[in-house]
Amino acid sequence: MKIHVNEQIVELADNSNIEQLLTYLDKPLMGSAIAVNQEIISRSHWADTILNEGDNISLFQAIAGG
């Protein structure tokens, strides 16, 4: 299936969850936050949130700042 991650199309196996997406993208689990179709998904639900074709994912990460 195809999903959008930060405006980029990503091809992902059907029935993947958020944890699998982050692993596939080689992004760290720690320090990341994720919204699916504008809704923030709590870390405790990353493993049981199954992504669907066409989902819009926003991926954020903690960085240096003042």
């Binding site: 991650v5 930060n6 980029q8 993208l25 080689d26 992004k27 760290p28 720690m30 320090g31 990341s32 936050a33 994720i34 919204a35 923030i40 998904i41 709590s42 870390r43 926003s58 991926l59 954020f60 990460q61 903690a62 960085i63 240096a64 700042g65 003042g66």
Partner: protein, 270 residues
């Protein structure tokens, strides 16, 4: 009382946390991660700020989080980049997920030239975030009336500015910071514009509860040494405040009994 003894009982409590160090630091603008970690350790800071950004899918950011957690630092994510209350609340909720903390440095500064905080949107966001259970530390102008409104809104502390972010100009808002400090029932953390250790000491002597420094340390010739200098200045300023500063006078008040000595000398010459 010796300062060490004085210092032991002088913890700063904000929300659910107690701090021994009154120097908070930012993680931005360092040349490299190694220098950043060394400087933050030298500062003895127990609370460090971080930002959040949309991930660039083309390139991997340095993982700066692991060394901060390893060194036992409390993280204070900010809402930098938010242009209004709605965006700030969204950023705070993302930050809570990313860093697993309900502490948030609320900053809304839509104008990139001066990065001055928007008071109306900040107050709106503070009310919303406090009601959602966040420990809210808003970055604001040195406005005593706004600071009282933020206190009433449930903020855990206020962070009034000394001068624009990154300007290194020092405490340009002294008269208003004094009013804020006098009126506040929550901690006052002077944030932004502190460019040298003496600026930090000045803020602490005024009775600020803490200061937040980033640029002045990060861009220093030797960030680690500058970090230590700020730590000492904050301690010195705090000790000066606790010791009770003498009052000011426009006239001289002699510290030595000079007149008596001179009169005696004149007598002798005769």
């Amino acid at each position: 009382m010796l300062f060490d003894e004085m210092n032991k009982n002088d913890q700063l409590v904000i929300g659910d946390k107690a701090f021994s160090s009154r120097l908070f630091t930012g993680t931005g603008k360092f040349n490299d991660q190694k220098t950043m970690v060394a400087a933050l350790k030298a500062s003895q800071s127990e609370l460090v700020t971080m930002a959040l950004k949309r991930v660039d899918m083309q390139h991997r950011d340095d993982d700066i989080l692991a060394p901060l957690i390893k060194n036992g630092m409390n993280l204070l994510p900010n809402t930098s980049g938010a242009r209004n209350a709605k965006e700030a609340v969204f950023a705070a909720e993302l930050a809570r997920e990313a860093l697993q903390t309900n502490w948030i440095k609320l900053e809304i500064h839509p104008d990139p030239k001066y990065l001055l905080p928007d008071p109306i949107e900040t107050l709106k966001a503070a009310e919303m975030l406090a009601s959602k259970g966040f420990v809210v530390l808003p970055y604001v102008h040195a406005d005593p009336v706004l600071c009282k409104h933020l206190e009433a809104a449930g903020c855990a502390a206020v962070m009034p500015l000394g001068a624009p972010i990154g300007s290194n100009k020092g405490i340009k808002t002294a008269d208003f910071l004094e009013i804020i400090i006098e009126q506040a029932n929550i901690p006052v953390i002077v944030d932004a514009g502190l460019g040298s250790p003496s600026h930090a000491a000045f803020a602490m002597e005024m009775g600020a509860d803490a200061v937040l420094v980033n640029t002045a340390i990060a861009v220093a010739g030797n960030p680690v040494a500058m970090s230590e200098a700020f730590a000492k200045a904050v301690q010195a300023g705090r000790q000066g405040y606790l010791a009770g500063l003498g009052g000011q006078s426009s006239q001289a008040i002699a510290s030595s009994p000079l007149t008596v000595f001179l009169e005696a000398a004149c007598e002798f010459q005769r």
